[in-house]
Symmetry: C2
Amino acid sequence: MTIAEVSRQYDISPDTLRYYERIGLIPPVHRTSGGIRDYTPEDCKWVEFCKCMRGAGLTIEALIEYVSLVQQGDGTMQARLELLTEQRRLLKERIAEMESTLARLDRKIAMYHEKCTGPCCDAFSQSDGAGASAQNGQNA
Amino acid sequence: MTIAEVSRQYDISPDTLRYYERIGLIPPVHRTSGGIRDYTPEDCKWVEFCKCMRGAGLTIEALIEYVSLVQQGDGTMQARLELLTEQRRLLKERIAEMESTLARLDRKIAMYHEKCTGPCCDAFSQSDGAGASAQNGQNA
DNA sequence: CCTTGACATGGAGTAAACTCCAGGGTATAT
DNA sequence: ATATACCCTGGAGTTTACTCCATGTCAAGG
């Protein structure tokens, strides 16, 4: 598979694909005798994997480390397991934080709904501020 | 409250606090007669709100727009509601994506557990690749 | 063989989001 | 009054993660 095909398939520019390879975010891609990249299914899987993990917010640094461990062979299984476990923990933390922010957004939206559909729409004037509930010192 | 106190309380550098104010991510902060920032509880709430929303991945652009709407007064309630609803939708999408990546990480971790504790630890040698399951074209 | 379009490399340029700095004002303890 | 610590602004610098570019190579059609 050429770099252009991979680019289309995963919606990542050729420049970015080369960049990812250069910094070690994906292992070196297979080449033709002429030196042109010819992505194997394995190469593609790395591209997809990195895209997925980056999308979830894993750092490039952690992923480079993981790729490096895989390239060092089977002796690094334990280290890989630890790395992935730590990244899983961090990901779960981020999700929890986002869930709580989502709940907060929901409360704020509910308040705007009340204000917009309440008895006297457009006639309110409490300073809204950061919380649609500016009166009680703390919200979420 | 001085900028240094707010900085400590929310773990945001004074430079970043000034930057946030400059770009409109928080409304103008109250000043002393001498021109020095003196954060009111309301100002602090904005700082906390922005920190929370930024932490969940809302764009600076969307937050600036929200702050701007709030400053424009009560006529913008409907627009604020729409903005928040859209941001909520995007946030939920991101969470869903991260949940699925979390599940994928879990599967991969489970596979490493098997390999590390299985019958012949350290004696495997299937090329691992991006999936700890390099044999079946697709994983997750 | 030659043209044409995609690909290669190394390095420079860019956008976002800070972060740092110089030069100068403010405030409080001595 | 003055030293010291903190704050101000405008602007330059930094980091991250790309993105673009100049120059040269590769490969398929005519």
